[in-house]
Amino acid sequence: MLRSKLFSLHNIKTKTQLMKILVVDDEKDMQALFEQRFRKEIRDGKTQFVFATSGEEALNYLLQHNHEAVLILSDINMPGMTGLQLLEKIKLEHKAPPPVVMMITAYGDEENYNRAMQLGADDFLTKPLDFILLKDKLKIPA
């Protein structure tokens, strides 16, 4: 299942050369971390990041910038709206074209995994994030 979804992600990406990624995490330093981990990719204009520190903020962004973000990376464990609630809303309200949503959590447990998949998550990653694996999944050309 994951494979096929990643293929579709690959398709989206080939259509638009610049990949815009929305990262949702209540840890503010995630921004600095992503910006540095993807330093070269950002510099070379292959990808662009936007950041939200809550589910509410992420939804706001998606409303204001309709379908700009083709990929959403969201933490599950956040105060207020959880990543799972955000996932559910995105999948229900933003249908065409559906953004790819990858869930990230520190609790890499069965229950969260199953719930995320049930709600239509495209992938599931655990913290600490393996950025090499993530880049591989994003299929960003080096």
């Binding site: 330093d29 600095a32 540095q36 981990r37 105060p79 609790y107 447990d109 600490p128 994030l129």
Partner: protein, 345 residues
């Protein structure tokens, strides 16, 4: 008649100088004397008997008293032992209550430590890469680029230090909580203590129950000076109040779900010569009929096995007896519960 009196009577009878009347009068007196003598002898005898009886009774009483004294002594020893046992049990209960609340927190603590450690590891790795890049740029003579990378390195180092300290303070907090209270008052930053335990409580419950969620709102008064408290003890009180608040909103959410937004509000405030910490939740509140009982030891509304019933009782003792402060509750059933800790500054 008494032998001596009889002798006197005989002598008198033979005396020729006395008239018959005189002899009769003396004889009567002697008979009266004899009667009185007899009565006196009888009384003496009776007194003697009473005395013997009394002595026996007295001895019996003394013996009885001695037995009673021994019984009292024995029960006193037994009571002292019971008291010692009770005190030991109380200590064990306090310890197990503490451990129970710590156990609940373990997962949350692990999560809380993992996050900063991830940052430490990630930024350390990035710095290694950046140093290589900086070398390359230096060799190429791109000084501007070298400077930019150096700035990034410094920023990242600050982040590493920040998250390292964050993890350290969590471990410290955890150790403080599990260690027996030193009972020593230390100058403590109330805001930092409150924030630390709020996070521990939130993440602890979160880790235990994946569906758990609540909005936390804080309003800290940053003008509060450090105050002298026993930080481990007050930390336990805070932990207890936060756990209760989150428990209450979570229970309410299970019933209402839908439109209900679970919320826990925490604030600190400097009052004249006091510091106040407020913990307010919009959960189920406390029914009026049990509000007087909440500080009683072993009183709990939680299902068997979920609460020791010692949390608020210990909290009350820590704040009032341990710190000369006040622990006040305000609540409306079904709407909210609000606890105020007031500590002398």
């Amino acid at each position: 008649m008494n032998q001596h009196l009889q002798s006197i009577l005989n002598i008198i009878q033979q005396d020729k100088s006395l008239t018959v009347e005189e002899k009769n009068a003396i004889a009567k007196s002697l008979k009266d004397a004899d009667k009185e003598l007899e009565i006196t002898a009888f009384k003496l005898d009776r007194t003697e008997k009473v005395k013997r009886t009394t002595t026996i009774l007295l001895e019996e009483t003394i013996e009885e008293l001695e037995q009673k004294r021994k019984a009292v002594e024995e029960s006193r020893t037994a009571l002292e032992k019971t008291l010692r046992d009770l005190k030991a049990t109380q200590q064990q209960l306090i310890q197990s209550e503490k451990m129970a609340s710590l156990g609940e927190l373990t997962a949350g603590i692990a999560h809380e430590i993992q996050n900063p450690l991830n940052f430490v590891n990630n930024f350390a790795e990035i710095n290694t890469e950046l140093i290589d890049e900086m070398k390359e740029e230096g060799e190429k003579g791109n000084l501007d680029e070298v400077r930019a990378i150096a700035n990034d390195l410094r920023d990242n180092n600050q982040k590493i230090a920040f998250h390292g300290k964050r993890a350290e303070s969590i471990v410290k907090g955890m150790l403080q909580h599990s260690r027996s209270s030193t009972g020593k008052k230390e100058l403590t930053d109330i805001n930092a203590l409150t924030d630390e335990f709020l996070r521990l409580s939130y993440h602890g419950l979160r880790a235990k129950d994946k569906s758990f969620n609540a909005t936390m709102e804080t309003n800290f008064d940053y003008n509060i000076n450090k105050i002298e408290i026993i930080p481990q003890d007050v930390g336990r009180v805070l932990l207890n109040l936060f756990n209760n608040a989150f428990y209450s909103v979570n229970e309410k959410k299970k019933i209402l779900n839908g439109l209900y937004e679970p919320k826990v509000f925490v604030s600190t405030e400097q009052l004249d010569d006091k510091v106040q910490i407020l913990v307010r939740d919009n959960g189920n509140g406390i029914p009026q009929k049990i509000v007087d009982k909440i500080y009683n030891p072993f009183f709990t509304t939680k299902p068997t096995g979920e609460g020791t019933g010692l949390g608020l009782s210990l909290s009350y003792d820590i704040i009032t007896k341990g710190h000369g402060g006040e622990l006040k509750v305000e609540t409306k059933e079904g709407e909210y519960a609000s606890f105020k800790i007031i500590l002398p500054a």
